[in-house]
């Protein structure tokens, strides 16, 4: 059973994703802000992190930066799950900082988020490397995918 850490400050959002992920057989831990997220990444040792960006005090991008600069936890794949814009810059920034995917919440139904989680975990266990993310073609792909889904 794969371990997922959900870092999200909105309690209703948490409940929604938690329901779906637990139904699908994941072991889910929740962190309600960035600081809590950093603590739990270390204590819970998740196989993957779903990370919101807009959170008070320490935001998602800051969490991402700190995780990727710590070799003891930098290998954990992180999917950004946010409602923040989805502009080219936001996406590039997130992928540059080391996220393996950038999902705009409005464009992905809960089961599509799970499909992405499965995809990343499959890629990760196959190669033992965090799937390649940071490139402008990767961010263009994210934008295309997101706008296709919005229709």
């Amino acid at each position: 059973m794969a371990k997922l850490l959900l870092v999200e400050d909105d309690p209703l959002m948490v409940r929604m994703y938690q329901r779906k992920l637990i139904n699908d057989g994941y072991d889910v831990e929740v962190a309600v802000n960035g600081e809590d997220g950093l603590v739990k990444i270390r204590s819970f040792s998740p196989d993957l992190v779903l990370l919101d960006i807009m959170m008070p005090k320490v935001n998602g991008l800051q969490v991402l930066e700190r995780v990727k600069s710590d070799p003891t936890i930098s290998k954990i794949p992180i999917i950004i799950l946010t409602n923040l814009g989805g502009s080219q810059e936001d996406i590039e920034r997130g992928l540059e900082l080391g996220a393996v995917a950038y999902l705009v919440k409005s464009a992905y139904r809960p089961d599509e988020v799970v499909a992405k989680v499965k995809e990343v975990l499959a890629g990760y266990t196959k190669s033992k490397e965090v799937p390649d993310a940071a490139s402008s073609s990767a961010s263009k792909k994210v934008i295309e995918e997101t706008s296709k889904k919005k229709k």
Binding site: M16, Y17, K20, L84, S106, K151
Partner: protein
């Protein structure tokens, strides 16, 4: 006598302060739009996500009649999300916050992608989609993703208002003989048409015109208003013609040709974000 063009130190400081204030104001507006976007989207996603899960059986079996109610609720939430997106885009564009990524674009190639995307939908609605690109149409200077958005909007509308067995044609011509430095694109449908007195209202926000569409069709009432603003900002313009109810509608829009004077004017437009490497011709 020559006019004194020297600025004294006081004027310079005043100007610097004004620039600083304007930048702060722009930053505040931008932040406001970003935060509003997030605050509006979050509860909407909660509604849509939960409805979606119930409809997919995550909370157990549901009756057929329960399903009907929930499907309508989800349509409503999806429509509201589209409305939020459009309103925020309009807010951005009318306050000069919108950024464009301008490159030279081959419209006919872009239309091939558009055609591929809409062909399955056309088939489903028993409509024919034609593409008619004038040979050697010059490159335009524009924002690719916004062009896709414009075509989505216009073709989507054409499909909505054209009954089965009808057709939608996209035609591109080099129109510089009529209006210098532009190409002309038309989206022609054989659909329900628009009353003469309603044509002028089309591009307004939430136009008060008679529409003959199914209740499940999406439509925010802002789509054409947004398209109008976007084209204006991209150095173009849009208008529509129709001979009345039952006689089809044609939407026309112009785009500036790459390298032309009109295209170069886009550099001077508010909040234009230029992708480096695309402006090799910039002087």
């Amino acid at each position: 006598m020559a006019k004194d063009t020297h600025y004294n130190k006081h004027d310079v400081l005043l100007l610097e302060q004004q620039i600083k204030d304007l930048r702060e104001e722009a930053k505040t507006k931008d932040e406001f739009i970003r935060i509003t976007n997030h605050e509006l989207r979050t509860p909407l996603d909660i509604i849509r996500g939960n409805l979606d899960m119930v409809l997919k059986g995550e909370a157990g079996e549901i009756s057929a009649s329960t399903r009907e109610y929930l499907v309508d609720a989800l349509f409503g939430a999806d429509r509201l999300t589209g409305l939020v997106d459009d309103m925020l885009d309009i807010a951005r564009i009318t306050t000069g916050q919108m950024r464009f990524e301008l490159t030279e674009i081959n419209i006919c190639e872009l239309l091939e992608t558009v055609e591929k995307e809409f062909s399955p939908i056309a088939k489903e609605k028993r409509l024919v989609l034609y593409k008619d690109c004038f040979k050697d149409v010059p490159l335009v200077y524009s924002d690719k993703s916004r062009l896709f958005q414009i075509f989505d909007n216009l073709i989507g509308n054409a499909f909505k208002f054209t009954p089965r067995g009808g057709s939608v044609t996209i035609r591109v011509v080099d129109d510089h003989a009529n209006v210098p430095d532009t190409i002309l694109v038309s989206v022609i449908d054989t659909g329900s048409g628009i009353k003469k007195e309603d044509i002028s209202k089309l591009f307004k926000q939430f136009p008060d015109i008679e529409k003959r569409i199914l209740p499940t069709e999406k439509g925010t009432g802002l789509g054409l208003n947004l398209v109008w603003h976007v084209l204006k900002a991209l150095g173009g313009e849009i208008w529509a013609e129709s001979d009345g109810f039952g006689k089809g509608t044609t939407f026309f829009f112009r785009l500036p040709i790459a390298g032309s004077e009109r295209g170069k004017q886009l550099y001077n437009y508010h909040a234009v974000y230029l992708k480096s490497g695309s402006d090799a011709r910039k002087e």
